[in-house]
Structures are given as C-alpha cells and as structure tokens.
C-alpha cells in the first residue's frame, strides 16, 4: 500500500485539471495571466476562486460561492416549529442531520423540552452514522484522488479496487445506521422530530449493526493508515479554531462553543461573538469573529485540536500511527483527521448500541409559546448554528442558520492566499490543481450555504 504515497508530478497534476474554459496558461512572467476555473468538481454545490498576482505578490484572492440563492431563512417565516427541521434538512443532502438536529434542538430550547437519555443516545448514534458516511465520502471518494493525481474514485477503483470497495462498504455502514434509526432513508431521514422520534428503532435492528461496526473500526483504521502515506503540501496556519465542547464526551450533538483563543460561551451567545456578513463576490454569507472581523476555522481539525483528549484510545493511537500530533495545523491533513474521527464514530456507535434499551416513549411533547431557541451541532464540516424566534402558536418569526461552509469561507480564502503565495513557481495548471485541493480540504458544502461559488487566477 505504501506506493500510494506517490505524489502526482506537476505534469500529471496539470493533466488532470480540466477547466471548462481553457486557461491562458504558460504566458511569460510579465503581463497579465488569468487562470479560470468556472466549476469546481468533487465539491458539493458550485464554487469559484479568483486570484490576482502582480509581480509575484498576491493582490487579490476571492473565494466565491455561485450557488443559486434558495432563501431558506425567508420562507421558514410563518412555518410551524414542527415543520422546520425537515425543511432545513433540505439545505444539504450530505449532512441533513446537522440541519434536522440543530433545528430540533433550537425548538426544544424554545419550548422548554428536555429530551430523555435514550433519545439523546439515538441521536448520537445517527450523527455517528452521518459522520461515517460523510467523512468517508469526502475523504476516500472525493479527496483522496487529489493526492494520487486521479480524477475520481472510479479511477482509483481501476488500480485498486479493494480500497474503493472498502470505502464504499464503510460509507454504507454510515448510511445504514442513519436508515435503521431514521426510518429507512439516509438522505433526509423521516423518523426524527422535535422532542425525539416518531418510532423508536428496535433493539434487534440496532444490534444487527454491531458486527459491521466492528468491521468498520478496522476498516477505518486501514484507510487512515493508507491515507497517512500520502505526501502533504508543506503548509501550516495558526488557526483560530472554533468547535463545540462537552464535558463528558467528544462533542457531536451538543456542548458549549469554545476556541483556542479563550472563548467559552453557551450556544445562545454564538452570534454575540461571531457574525456573518455579505460581500459582493459571493452569495454565501461569510463568518468572522465580531470585533476584529477575522476568519476562524470550524470542522474536523478545529474539533480535533480542541477536544483531542476526549477521543477514544484507539482513535488517538491511530492518529499517532499516521503521524498526527495533538494539534494539526496543516489543512491538507484534514483527510487524516476525518478518518480518525471515523474510527471514533464507529466505536462510539458500537458503544451506544451495546447499551441501548428501547424507550417506552418515542418523543417528548412540547407546548408552543412565544419564545426564542438556539441549537448547534458538529456537522461533519463544522459547527452548524440555528436560532429561531417563535410566536405563541409556535410559528417562526425569525430564523437564522449559519452553515459550516459560510463560516469557513473567509478561512478558505486565507488558506488559498497562503497556498498560492508558497506555490507561485508552479505553472498555472498545477497551481490551480493545488487550489482545488485546498478548497477540498474543507469540501465546502456549498449548497448548504444556500446562497453562490467559480476559480479565476490573474497574474500581472
């Protein structure tokens, strides 16, 4: 497997980037050079990047989201609190749980519902399912081919079918967990609701997942080790990491918001400390910390850096074996952190399933009142924030949703700036490929920003 470490040569990297418009590559160093990538592949939604370089200095670096606006916050107005989670799920097909569960939590907060432990455990099992399917889709199917100079996982299958089959089976395991708890479908599951579930899954059905989960732990360690042999671009950044933190567990479904710059606040204060703004070049709103207006990092690396101690022994051991320390500041290594989290998610789901007893009550009912509620969960790509104001009938007066992509967008731009700066000696095609790789470190769930992203490079 070690040969997988082969990095794409510049020539191969150049060969693989197939822009929809031919770039004016290979012009001499003077004058203006433009690299344009109108469409980013293997990124959910559509995106774009514009970079302008003058005499070897970056003058402009804009990351855009060119996704047609879908206006979720607007049409949620007037809808009943019961309908909101299913509607917000449609923001993103890769991580519907982040929207389902964030909205559910916010509504429970508003209505004063306290869910029971079994419901909480079932939610965590489902969320582990989403982490597994999303992390494996992202890492193995969409991101790994970049490190190998391949177009896609299917090309990988041509040379190493066993790896792709393993990845597919692992991804399926995540989807199966979602289906068993979520009522038979993994994308936009139908069984979850404010207060709990429509029908609790049987102990038997969940226990049926145990053997596959045991296999999943081994499989994710294998994939982690394989990806650990890749060559990673030499790039580090001193990130402002933001993630949820829970006192008793590696935070997934709930916790306080913490950061490595000393922030520790309850979810309800999130928008007092962080904000979103709208700029001309993108329909996605952009997250930053209030006051200094600086980018921050959400997602696997932020979680790992902030909550490393709470990972399982096996996950930590896997991290160590693939060369990760307790802090990972190389964004390209997010592919490794994703696999470490997959190891953890398989173990965690297994642990919860072993202890699972069917509860008598599937959900806790709430009574609408004029109120405000907040919710946040760790979507595979980072914290996903929800807040809703409700009227006395439980209808939405105001909805605010911050997707991980929108929050990470300025940081992606920063990363791109740094990466381009260090790679100016590459020719345009190779540089473009490097930029795509940089963006895919995040896999911007661009459609979840529910607002627009293209890649353009100008050298003067």
């Amino acid at each position: 497997m070690a040969t997988a470490a082969k990095t794409p040569t510049k020539a191969k990297a150049a060969a693989k980037a197939a822009p929809s418009k031919p770039s004016k590559a290979k012009k001499p160093e003077t004058g203006t050079r433009t690299i344009q990538v109108d469409e980013l592949s293997r990124v959910e939604g559509e995106g774009a990047l514009f970079v302008r370089v003058k005499d070897g200095v970056i003058k402009d670096c804009k990351f855009k989201i060119v996704e047609p606006p879908r206006f979720f916050e607007a049409f949620l107005k007037g809808r009943s609190y019961l309908e909101v989670p299913d509607i917000t799920a449609r923001i993103c097909g890769i991580c519907p749980m982040a929207y389902l569960m964030g909205a559910q939590q916010a509504m429970e907060d508003a209505l004063g519902i306290t869910i029971t432990q079994p419901i909480r455990d079932l939610r965590r099992i489902m969320y582990c399912g989403e982490w597994i399917e999303s992390h494996v889709l992202h890492a193995a199917m969409l991101h790994a081919p970049d490190f190998l100079g391949l177009d896609d996982a299917l090309q990988l299958a041509a040379t190493n079918k066993a790896v792709v089959e393993k990845a597919l089976r692992l991804k399926k395991l995540g989807n199966d967990l979602l289906e068993v708890v979520g009522g038979g479908r993994a994308i936009h599951p139908i069984n979850t609701r404010v207060g709990g579930f429509y029908k609790v899954p049987t102990k038997k059905a969940l226990r049926g997942m145990m053997d596959e989960l045991k296999w999943g732990i081994e499989a994710s360690i294998d994939l982690a080790k394989l990806f650990g042999t890749f060559t990673f671009p030499d790039f580090e950044y001193d990130y402002h990491c933001v993630a949820l933190h829970h006192p008793d567990e590696y935070a997934i479904v709930e916790g306080d918001v913490i950061s490595n710059r000393g922030i520790h606040i309850p979810v309800r204060e999130f928008h007092e400390v962080f904000q979103e703004s709208h700029v001309a070049h993108s329909t996605a709103l952009r997250g930053s910390s209030r006051g200094d207006n600086e980018p921050y990092l959400a997602g696997p690396n932020a979680r790992y850096n902030l909550n490393y101690k709470q990972l399982s022994k096996l996950a930590k051991q896997t991290a160590k074996e693939i060369g990760l320390g307790e802090i990972v500041n190389n964004p390209f290594k997010s592919i490794l952190v994703r696999m470490v989290e997959t190891v953890y998610a398989c173990e965690e789901a297994l642990r919860l399933i072993k202890a699972y007893e069917e509860p008598d009550v599937a959900y806790v009912e709430g009574r609408p009142r004029a109120s405000e509620g907040f919710g946040m969960t760790e979507a595979p790509r980072g914290v996903c924030y929800h807040s809703y104001k409700l009227d006395s009938e439980g209808r939405v007066l105001k909805a605010v949703i911050s997707s991980p992509t929108a929050q990470n967008q300025p940081q992606i731009e920063r990363d791109l700036h740094g990466v381009v700066e260090r790679s100016l000696d590459l020719d345009d095609e190779a540089l473009k490929q490097r930029c795509e790789l940089t963006i895919r470190n995040y896999d911007p769930c661009i459609s979840c920003s529910a607002h627009f992203l293209t890649l353009t490079m100008v050298r003067e």
């Binding site: 197939a18 206006f71 001309a280």
Partner: protein, 281 residues
Amino acid sequence: MTAPSAKKKAAPAAPKAKTPAAAKPHRAKPKVAVWKFASCDGCQLSLLACEDELLDVVGEIEIAYFLEATTAKIDGPYDISLVEGSITTEHDLHRLRKIRQESKMLITIGACATSGGIQALKNFAKVDDYIRAVYDHPEFIDTLPTSTPIKDHVPVDFELRGCPINKAELLEAISALLNKRTPNIVHTSQCIECKKKGTVCLMVAKGVPCLGPATHAGCGNLCPSTNRGCFGCFGPSEAANGPALAKQLEKLGMTKREVRDFFRSYNSNAAEFRKTSEAYD
C-alpha cells in the same frame, strides 16, 4: 497501487466541439451526465449512495460529466442526462437549454427538478422581500422571481419523484432506459403502498393527518410504516384529489392554515398540490 497512467490527459478542456473526433468514439458504453441546478445535492448523492451497485453500474455506463464525483469531463452528446434541481436564475435557464440540446434522453431526478422543490415556496411570495430578508446587500443577488421545474422549460423524457429520489427507482430507470424499455415505476398513491405492505392506515386507525391518498408512490412506504403521516415528498400521484383530502384533514382538526402549509412544502409548485393549497390561502 500505482499512480495512474496518463490516460486521462486527453480529457477535453473546451466545452464544445473542440475535438470532434472525441464526440464519436466507437460507441462503447452509454454516456451519462449528471447536472445540478438549485438543489441540496441529495438526489445526485443517491447515485453515490448505491454503494453495493456503484462499481457495477459504472461498469455499464460511462460517467461523462458529474461534478460532484469527478474532475473528468467528456463532451456531449450524452445518452442520458440526469438533471437535479430547479430553475431559479437566467443563467441556469441557458445552461439547461444547452444540456437538452446535447442529451438524447433527459431524466429529472427529485422534487426540485420535477416540481420546483422546497425553494418554490418563493413562488408564493414577493421575491424582493425574500432577498431583503436574507441578504444585507440585495443588489448583489441575481435571481428569477420563481423556482420552476425542468419540464416548464424543455422537454423531459422521464421524471423521478421524491425528495430525495429512491435509489432503487433510479437504478431501475437507468437500466430500463438503456435497454429501451419503460421503467417499471408505479404512479399510484401512497395508500396503495400501505395496502401492499400491510401498513395499518394512520388516518383511519389513529386520526393522524396524512397526505398519502394524494401522494405519489415510490418511497417504499416510509412514513406510514414509521407511525408518521406522509407529508407528500414524492409530490402528487397520478389521480390525486387534493380538495377531497383537504376536507378530510380539516375534519381531523387541522386549521385552514395548517392544511395549506401541509400541501405547500417540498412539492408546493406541483399543479395538484398548488391548486389545493391556494384554495386555502
């Protein structure tokens, strides 16, 4: 594992007719393209979620364009285009027309593409209000006042319902169309699915509001078998009677507003659902 050979080097870069020779390789596998408009990507992900079948499926077809999955792009014409998402911008409308020209067969996948999707809720409002509600700088936003299905703009050969689609139906549709037969997909209502599956009727037995009588079959009877009333994510069935069902829902205690909202969600712009909900405005 070895690094790939340079076999992809020839991936055509220009959108069209740059290498006429490439458009007519000797006709091996059918070329399938996947396109996205306004949507959540859930329906195209359903293709990647065919984990057990994926490698077999791609053995039978050539994925010629699928941004979500691959960097490789092969010029049209395409044998089948799978289209996800609704039309919400002028730019997308142009893109769609070009895709239609290049596609022998065009299949829409999901509620967004077949009825306008959840974002069609804006068809019932003033779009300017919406833009102002979400964006600080409305002047940066370029959008049509409506979200409309693909069939409103170009001829569609086959429609797959659902938000999201059922991946078994997707595989059936692809294989049927490639083999030049009609896909074996029923257009009856969710109620028929309940009967087939032996699911006790939630409305009759428990008084739970359910859109099943007017909703297209195909999901696998998910909600009723999970103690949940159907909320219509597959859109109207062929012979849906919205008004009659709406009356029944009122009898079960739903307010007019609730009845309206029930019909006005993931397929709000589908004719039968639209008419019914507008009667409750």
